[in-house]
C-alpha cells in the first residue's frame, strides 16, 4: 500500500477517533449503546491572548434540535 496521505490532513489521534467511531457504529445494539458512552466528549476550549481569554469554542458543536411541538396548541 502506498504511504498514507492522511498524515497531511489530521493527527494520529483524529485518525484513531475516526476508526473508533466506525467500530462503535458497527457493533450490535446493546454493545453499541454501551460503547457510545465511551466516545462522548463535550469539550470546549478557548485561546488566550496576553492574559485575556478569547471566545469559547465547542470541539464538537452540539446538534441543533428543533423544539418539540407541545400538545397544547
Amino acid at each position: 500500500m502506498s504511504s498514507a496521505t492522511w498524515r497531511n490532513v489530521f493527527t494520529y489521534n483524529k485518525y484513531a477517533q475516526i476508526a473508533a467511531r466506525a467500530l462503535r457504529q458497527s457493533l450490535k445494539e446493546n454493545e453499541r449503546v454501551a460503547a457510545e458512552k465511551r466516545g462522548v466528549t463535550i469539550l470546549r476550549y478557548q485561546q488566550w491572548e496576553n492574559g485575556q481569554g478569547g471566545q469559547q469554542v465547542y470541539l464538537n458543536p452540539p446538534e441543533e434540535t428543533n423544539p418539540k411541538k407541545s400538545a397544547a396548541v
Binding site: 494520529y12 483524529k14 484513531a16 466516545g39 463535550i42 469539550l43 470546549r44 485561546q47 469559547q56 470541539l59
Partner: protein, 297 residues
Amino acid sequence: MLARRTLGRIAAQPPVLGAAPSGSRNMATLREIELRLKSVRNIEKITKSMKMIASTKLAKAQRAMQAGKQYGIANSEVFEHSPVEESGKRRLFLVISSDKGLCGGIHSSVSKAARRALADKDAPVESDTPVMVIGDKAKAQLARAAGKNIVMSFNQIGRDIPTFADAAGVADLIIKSGVKYDIVTIVYNQFVSALSYEATTMQVESESALKESPGFKAYEMEDDVTKDLAEFSLANAIYATLVESHACEQSARRNAMDNASKNATDMISKLQMQYNRGRQAAITNELVDIITGASAL
C-alpha cells in the same frame, strides 16, 4: 410550642423598667437561634446527600482510574528507555483540574504546584513558558498568578468520568495550536489513598525530543511512526492523568462534605443546647415576674 406561648406572654406584658431590654434581647436571641438551627439543619441534609453522591461516584471513578493508569504506564515504558536531558528544553505545562468546586484543596494544590514549577530555581523555565489549563477553577487561579503565560484553556471535562475522546481532543488541540515545545509537563493530582492526594507531574516528550534522545535510536522507527507515537503518547498521558485527577476530586469532595456534615452536626447540638437554655431562662424570668407580682398583692 411552650417557648412561643412564653414569648407571646412576655410581649403582652407592659414593659417594666430595666426588664424590657433583657426580655426583648432574649426574645430576639431565641428567634435568631431558632432560625440558625433551621438553616444549619438544612445545610447538614444537603452536605450529607452530596457526600453520598460523591462516594458512589468515587467507586466508579476508582475503577476507571485503575484501568486508565495502564495507559500511563505503557507510555512511560518508552520514555524510560529514551530519557531526555532536561537542560535547554522548551516546556509546555498542562494543568489538570475541573470546573466544579466544593472539593477541598484540589484546585489550589494543582495551581500551587504549577506556580512552584514556573518559579523553580533549580530547573529554571523561561518566563514565557506556555501554560494550558483544563478546568475553570484552576484557570481562574492561574489567570491571576501567571496570566501572561496561558495559551489555551479547556472546560466541560470532569462532569462524568473523562473519556479517551476527551484526552484525544485535548492532545489534538495542543498539537494543532502550533505552540513550540520539547516536553509537556502535566501537573495533576495523584491518588495516594481515599483520604489523601498529592500534586505531581508527568513528562511527555514530543516528537523532536524523542528523536534526539540517545536511547530512542535503538528502536529504529520511521519518522512517520515516531510522529504518530508522540501524538498518541500525549493523548495516553492526558487520559491517565485526567482519570486519576477525577478520582482524586471525587474523594476530596466526599471528604470535604463529610467534614462539613460533621461540623454541621456539632453546630446543631451546640445551638440546640443554647436554645434550650435560653428557653428555660425565659420561662424562669416569667415565673419570677409572676411570683413577685403575686407576692406584692
